[in-house]
Symmetry: C2
Subunit: 211 residues, 2 copies
Amino acid sequence: MKIAVIGTGQVGSVLGTRWAHNGHQIVFGSRTPTSQRVLGLVEKAGPNATATSPAQAVMDAEIVVLAIKYAAVETVIKQLGDLSGKIIIDPNNPLNGDVSGLTLGTTTSAGEEIARLIPQAPVVKAFNMTGAIGNMANPIYGDQRLSMLICGDDEQAKAVVAGLVTELGFEVVDCGPMTSARYLEPMAMLWITLAGKMGLGGNIGFRLLTR
Amino acid sequence: MKIAVIGTGQVGSVLGTRWAHNGHQIVFGSRTPTSQRVLGLVEKAGPNATATSPAQAVMDAEIVVLAIKYAAVETVIKQLGDLSGKIIIDPNNPLNGDVSGLTLGTTTSAGEEIARLIPQAPVVKAFNMTGAIGNMANPIYGDQRLSMLICGDDEQAKAVVAGLVTELGFEVVDCGPMTSARYLEPMAMLWITLAGKMGLGGNIGFRLLTR
């Protein structure tokens, strides 16, 4: 698939690189597409990856990943132009400045706000609730896979994103409509708290067990 | 230990019965301690269990479990009298009327509100984030244990509660201070959404994997 990864931080770098290695066409959208850092990322991602401006990156994309800071989302969405016909992946969390909590929740979520900002394209919440460097790079724990919880209001878009999640090694758990982002975003803060403050480090993650 | 279980709904019934079978002294606190239903519960829980009024139940207890509806917590706490020297276990979630969401969160939590209502005793959040009938009755999934996420500001109290959680078969995950209840309570809504709306049923639960 043609995937625009907007943002080249941890989440965007890991996802874009892995999907490029899987054979997808990746365009990283960056404010500094010719910087040494982004060129290095493109080289690591291999022949299926390029980098350009955010607005250029989305033009031919079927999938757009908003791997940017939540505070920047509204501004960046305006720069991206018409997103009709594309599927938007939202890995955002409304983290506060010192990553000690969330700035919104309970009665709304970053996912719902982003869906409101992009009424012309389906938004799927994914890749928000676990670590990028360790877990998105490799979600296999012995003979088990981490769960990736996703949600969204468009079933077809969610099925496409579920495929992109599964091919990275996660087990997809569909958590229903975008309102469930109210639960997935606090789960990110839980992961951050356990990995950081509680000292467990990045090689931890949740799996939904069934019997 | 001497444990007062206030409330005889699903959570209180399962926890009290299992701890009674483990040899703890359980007093169920109920508005109707001589009703057929509560007498049946006491009989099922066995010789280590009795039932009386909430205020009587807590008098000799070392541990008090507030297994009641969150909306009733403030009223019930007032009825319980002096709780100094006891450890309070809070399994509450601030569920709205139709269990479709939470009534508070993001910047506070039921756990923090309850801790404010009981300044004279340490409150530990536990048993809020998974199902009672299936998972608290039996948290073993094949060769794995479900995680029970707990939090609270008193390390000694948390260690005592961790013991009570572990003996039921859970693997305890300490999520830090009571502010983490802001993340554990949405996780309850997530479990409710998956078990109910998404049709997965009660035999599902989260485990924190490590590698």
